[in-house]
Symmetry: C2
């Protein structure tokens, strides 16, 4: 078959000429290159590669061959232009170094890359404005966003959600999709645990002012406290950090509570450190508990009793939901609550007897 051979030779020749050209611009082949190599029209290459099956098997094979001979990759940027879809998602978090977000990041990353999407994570560290700015900067280049520990107002979130699909994590805003933990059951479980240990006077260290979930938690605690007839006071807002927890010790002690529930583990840890510094023994004089079960919670001594959240799942599901609405799914219903579970460790214990109670 001289004809085929001829074609083969030709292909090889072209290939050589091409590889030279490619090397010059960094090895990035375009559909034109592979069209030339395969002897077809660029548009055919595009079709063959982006919607396999809708094309003659023969040509498709030829094109495929050429494609991975040049080891071709679509240029996502070029692709995004006509389609308007960048295949990129933004994950907005307030503080990357907060262990809580690790799980979320990982889950989101996995789900995203499993779907062939790229995840860019935006940290806002600073409050409000910085976050809004970061979002605006990213908006044009993403198809949608997952917002995790956002400090934005509801209005602002709604505004953003009006422009691109948004999924919230740990926050509910009307008409915006969100993945939420089963707040109530976790709180109930924790309170039951403390009650069982004899605590009748509990203090809740609230999170930052803008924390929706902190409010919800306290809400449920209030309900439960009424039902169980126990004393409950909220202290806050506090920074959701170790220092935030440390700073709250004085007020916790002043409140004469026997047990403290912190908005998150970071704060709980800070509180325990401050307690240790002040000679208050945990859980002997004060029981401490937190939320999240972050790395470090079981390392500290005594190990922290905490309510574990399914962070990885949260990230995963947020991305999955986002992708779904991106795919035109109509069912805007938020996904089911993520289950939550109490992890009892050493930082909570039976209520101190009056004679050896905190201070006098």
């Amino acid at each position: 078959m001289p004809d085929e051979e001829g074609a083969a030779n030709l292909a090889v020749a072209k290939s050589e000429e091409l590889t030279a050209k490619l090397r010059r611009r960094g090895g990035a082949a375009t559909i034109y290159d592979i069209a030339e190599l395969a002897g077809v029209n660029p548009s055919t290459v595009s079709r063959a590669l982006s919607k396999p099956g809708r094309i003659s098997a023969a040509t498709e094979a030829k094109i495929r061959a050429a494609a991975d001979q040049l080891n071709f990759r679509f240029n996502p940027m070029a692709r995004a232009l006509p389609t308007g879809r960048s295949h990129t998602l933004a994950l907005v978090v307030a503080d990357i170094t907060n262990p809580v977000v690790f799980g979320i990041v990982r889950g989101a990353e996995q789900a995203a890359s499993a779907a062939g999407y790229t995840l860019v994570i935006a940290e806002s560290q600073e409050s409000g404005e910085a976050e809004a700015e970061a979002i605006e900067r990213l908006m044009p280049s993403v198809d949608g966003l997952v917002m995790a520990t956002t400090r934005l107002s509801d209005e602002r979130i709604v505004d953003i959600a009006g422009r691109k699909p948004v999924v919230l994590i740990n926050r509910a805003v009307d008409s915006v999709r969100g993945v939420l933990p089963d707040i109530e059951s976790g709180v109930i479980e924790l309170l039951a645990h403390l009650t069982e240990l004899g605590h009748r006077s509990i203090v809740y260290l609230a999170g930052p002012e803008t924390s929706w979930i902190s409010d919800r938690r306290f809400e449920h605690m209030l309900e439960a406290s009424e039902r169980l007839g126990l004393g409950l006071v909220e202290i806050g807002p506090n920074a959701p950090t170790i220092d935030g927890g440390r700073a709250a010790l004085r007020r916790v002690i002043a409140a004469r509570a026997t047990a403290a529930i912190a908005f998150n583990d970071l704060m709980a840890i800070g509180l325990m450190q401050a307690a240790a510094d002040a000679g208050v023994v945990v859980p002997g004089q004060l029981s401490v508990s937190g939320f999240d079960d972050i790395f470090g919670s079981e390392l500290i001594s005594p190990p922290l009793t905490t309510v574990r959240a399914q962070l990885v799942e949260a990230g995963e599901r947020a991305v999955t939901d986002l992708l779904a609405t991106l795919a035109g799914e109509t069912d805007k219903s938020s996904s089911p609550l993520l289950t939550t579970s109490l992890i009892v460790r050493g930082s909570t214990g039976i209520v101190p007897q009056p004679d050896n109670a905190t201070a006098r």
Copy 2:
């Protein structure tokens, strides 16, 4: 000035018509819209906005006004096409949940966004292939990459670096830029500390097989051990995780060393946990130390003695260097070593007396 007023009215009118159009496509204005609004040519808008100053002050002002009236943002994708620059950098790490990378991520993120760049972080969890795949997938859409805890071979790295600018963190490869810690001084300091405590027999828990830095550390330990005349044995490779550390306990004990140096804090923590489980008291019977000073190291009890690395700086500098080479800087010299410092805490103590030594 009826003229100006007329122009203003016109502008307003157009603006209304435009905003309608914009809303329809998600609020994204283009330079065409603002050109129309300002009554100039799109190319003028492009110039005015991308290279301020090279244009008449009057038109520029007019354009600026129009631009933020429509609150315009460049479409990065569209921009990337003609210029070939996406203003996006990739940060490649093996495991996001490894606390070591937090610092790096944060530093890199800061430096990147400070320069107006977007950082996409790629996790490879799985070994080699997955990482290579992730990189290939990202390559077309980034201007350069920072590779942090890569498991790739030198060859592969060189190959990648040949296609796009690369900066390595904690790894040196010929002709590839890298930011490295001052390995030697950290090791020396640590060894001096242990020697001072009376330890003469030390074991090093190596990191994963592909860890360049683990090898370098051991190299320096070897040198020092010869100089100081102390016993040193390397155990490994090990997974750079808590479990990796746990799994190594038996061999550490078998080695009859009085002090263990782990490749990183995660492993050190695992080792301590296993020791506690086995009734080996730290530092009474065994001194333990690590590297990195991650979150959790000072939480655990006893708190971990460790060599702190400047992770945030590493991330920051990597991006800065990358940006510099992107900007055509010729000086390929790697940046100066990041200083390192020994943090002495409770997990290292004086060498046990023979009579209360480990095991028998």
